[in-house]
Symmetry: C2
Subunit: 165 residues, 2 copies
DNA sequence: CAGTATCCTGTCCGATACTG
DNA sequence: CAGTATCGGACAGGATACTG
């Protein structure tokens, strides 16, 4: 999965991520795709947005390389929208969001869960440092400017931190 | 309905998460908070949005229980905004987003990185199932309706999946 | 079925000005 | 410094109508 910066080259990786997945409808369409839905009317039925908006959103997703549009039949020609590898790489973000919400609910209160489909076991995902195995919520982890930091990013991390979070 | 939907209205945990973190500025303010910034002018300098919008966003964040506003001095009274425990629980989402973008870049191209502040080592976070240790990108993991699923959510997952993703 | 096209309303958001 | 108040343009997004 290669780099694909369509939107606007902000140096902050968080801003870049937000420019891809920061829109409400975009995330819901992605959710549909991960669940195996691929067609215009399925999206519309599941999500309930207007056809003009859906058209616009699908176009950005295709332009951004997250979905591909392909004909699944001729005469009349019909299209479906499927995830690219690049699009699939967004899955951990989507899963982390759903997991965040489910953590606040008792298991019996959850409307949607992630499961291991081989066993049916419910999964409660965590985001960790793979080297230490420690959750990224641990205060020992902090952002710093990287090698490609510009002026603003360097300034941001130049001063000592006000407090640990 | 737009992103301004009341949080309780949606049973889908992903939608709920999006209603909290789905806005561009909200995420950037959170990023500032995680980096130890807490004051109005710092947010404004770092993010560069208008004071009226910043006021509005801070208000939503406080109303949603993600930040607390507290006076750090009297005469004149000055406020700062700090993360609640609830706010801190959003960290994995933010980290997962930044990590997603950094994965597309060579290490030397990264403007911002997560580090273990004890050792300075760069961290490349992953979102996994803690039981098996397998990444949530593995196709064996899939969403299903949970115990509290309503009609629509049950219907969504009732039919066999069109394809594995 | 898979969209386009058009209209219309509400909201986002910067700009500007003002306050204690 | 930490906001509040107001204006106005741009655009998100619903509703509706239409098309091959």
């Amino acid at each position: 999965m290669s780099a694909r910066v369509r939107v606007e080259d902000r140096e902050c990786p968080l801003s870049t991520a937000m420019s891809y997945v920061g829109e409400w409808w975009t995330m819901l369409i992605l959710h549909d795709c991960f669940d195996g839905y691929s067609r215009f009317d399925q999206f519309q039925a599941n999500i309930g947005l207007s056809s003009s908006m859906l058209t616009a959103r699908l176009k950005t997703l295709v332009d951004n390389g997250i979905l591909t549009k392909r004909a699944y039949q001729e005469r009349p020609v019909r299209y479906e929208y499927v995830l690219t590898d690049f699009g699939r790489s967004l899955r951990p973000i989507l899963v982390a969001m759903a997991a965040w919400r489910n953590e606040q609910l008792a298991p019996s209160e959850r409307a949607m869960v992630l499961v291991d489909s081989e066993t049916g076991r419910e999964v409660e995902p965590v985001t960790i440092d793979p080297v230490s195995g420690v959750s990224v919520s641990d205060p020992r982890f902090a952002f710093r400017s990287g090698p490609a930091a510009g002026e603003q990013m360097r300034a941001r991390y130049a001063r000592p931190r006000a407090r640990d979070v």
